[in-house]
């Protein structure tokens, strides 16, 4: 028996773990894979919307003369610009997509503040992370508030409603739809609702992260990577809105 021992570093082979083939941490990689699956869910919804729209007649006359369908024999798909043309506080004015545009800007800006929070996290600057996370949360809550108003207006409908088959209809729900085919309203509730649920959970995740930042959890852990993971999810929500905006509101 020798009196001295030599410490040898244990040999780690490729199959012993510790390898990062994609140079991303486990948490980030799993967040990416989750987002891929979520992208499929949203894409399926939007593609289903497209198919159903194909299955309905379209407005044939000049675009600017659009009116909501007045007969269930000719129930054509509405032009979104003419449906979403109201703005809070500007009653009766025709502002096509004005409010949706505001919502889009709020979400893009909250995505920017999230990038800044991630950047501050990489420098381990707790104060700056706090500031930018708070702005991101404010942006998310503002967006949700706007969506609540949008839903409320969609459900209550325009001031005069539409007379269809001799019956006056105001607004839309899952049984009647002032704006056109019933499925248009159903898809509106489902797609923007599903996105809204994502924003809601994103805000909750951001609040949890903000709490942890304030409590110094990541400071003790020595890594602000959680901001990056939450950031990935938050940017994804913004990304989905870019597509919802185009396929539901613009086209």
């Amino acid at each position: 028996m020798s009196s001295s021992t030599t410490l040898t570093t244990p040999e780690i082979t490729k199959w012993d773990g510790g390898e990062r083939p994609m140079k991303a941490t486990y948490g980030k990689l799993m967040m990416w894979f989750f987002l891929v699956s979520d992208a499929f869910t949203f894409a399926s919804l939007l593609i289903a919307y497209g198919v159903v729209r194909y299955m309905h007649p379209a407005w044939e006359k000049p675009f600017s003369e659009f009116e909501f369908a007045t007969s269930s024999d000719d129930l054509y798909w509405p032009i979104p610009e003419k449906v979403f043309n109201a703005f809070p506080g500007l009653h009766g004015m025709d502002i096509p997509l004005g409010f949706v545009g505001l919502m889009t800007f709020i979400l893009i800006l909250s995505s920017v503040t999230m990038v800044l929070a991630v950047e501050a996290g990489e420098r381990k600057s707790q104060k700056e992370v706090e500031k930018w996370m708070l702005w991101t949360i404010v942006g998310g809550v503002l967006f949700l508030g706007c969506q609540a108003w949008e839903w409320s207006h969609f459900i209550h409908g325009s001031a005069n409603g539409v007379v269809r088959d001799g019956v006056q209809i105001f607004g839309a729900n899952l049984h009647v739809n002032e704006y056109g085919p019933q499925l248009f309203a159903n898809f509106f509730f489902f797609i923007t609702g599903f996105h809204g649920i994502h924003v809601t959970s994103g805000v909750i995740i951001n609040i949890v992260i903000f709490y942890n930042v304030v409590m110094g959890t990541y400071e003790k852990r020595g890594s602000y990577e959680m901001i990056e993971k939450g950031g990935l999810y938050w940017h994804f929500v913004d990304l989905v809105w870019v597509f919802v905006f185009t396929f539901f509101y613009l086209i």
């Binding site: 994609m22 499929f40 894409a43 497209g50 159903v52 610009e81 995505s111 950031g231 870019v242």
Partner: protein
């Protein structure tokens, strides 16, 4: 993203990153404003299909910037990029398959 490496000071890296953030934000805002203007001023006689192709192109440009810069995928390894982006090709197939199906359904309704 602007080039930065270990030889740069933290301030320089921060400045380089901020430049990218501002650039991407400006591009996203500009494209969105352009979409609005097009949606409102597009004249009656012009092809709507043309407009929709424009919207589609602008949407993918915006999505590209968000994924590559904000979500940082552009700076990950090429394997990770491939793993994330390749499955999206299946969605192209889903579009083709279902739109053909939708057309067939309305034809069946109309020619019953």
């Amino acid at each position: 993203m602007a080039h930065f490496d270990a030889s740069m000071t933290p301030e320089e890296i921060k400045a380089a990153k901020m430049k990218t953030v501002i650039k991407v934000t400006a591009i996203l805002a500009a494209i969105t404003i352009l979409e609005f203007i097009l949606a409102i001023v597009w004249p009656d006689g012009f092809s709507r299909t043309m407009l929709y192709i424009l919207f589609l192109g602008m949407t993918f440009i915006k999505a590209g910037f968000i994924i590559m810069e904000f979500m940082h995928l552009g700076h990950e390894t090429s394997l990770l990029k491939f793993v994330i982006l390749f499955p999206m090709l299946f969605l192209v197939w889903l579009c083709v398959a279902l739109f053909v199906e939708g057309q067939a359904i309305i034809d069946a309704f109309l020619n019953w």
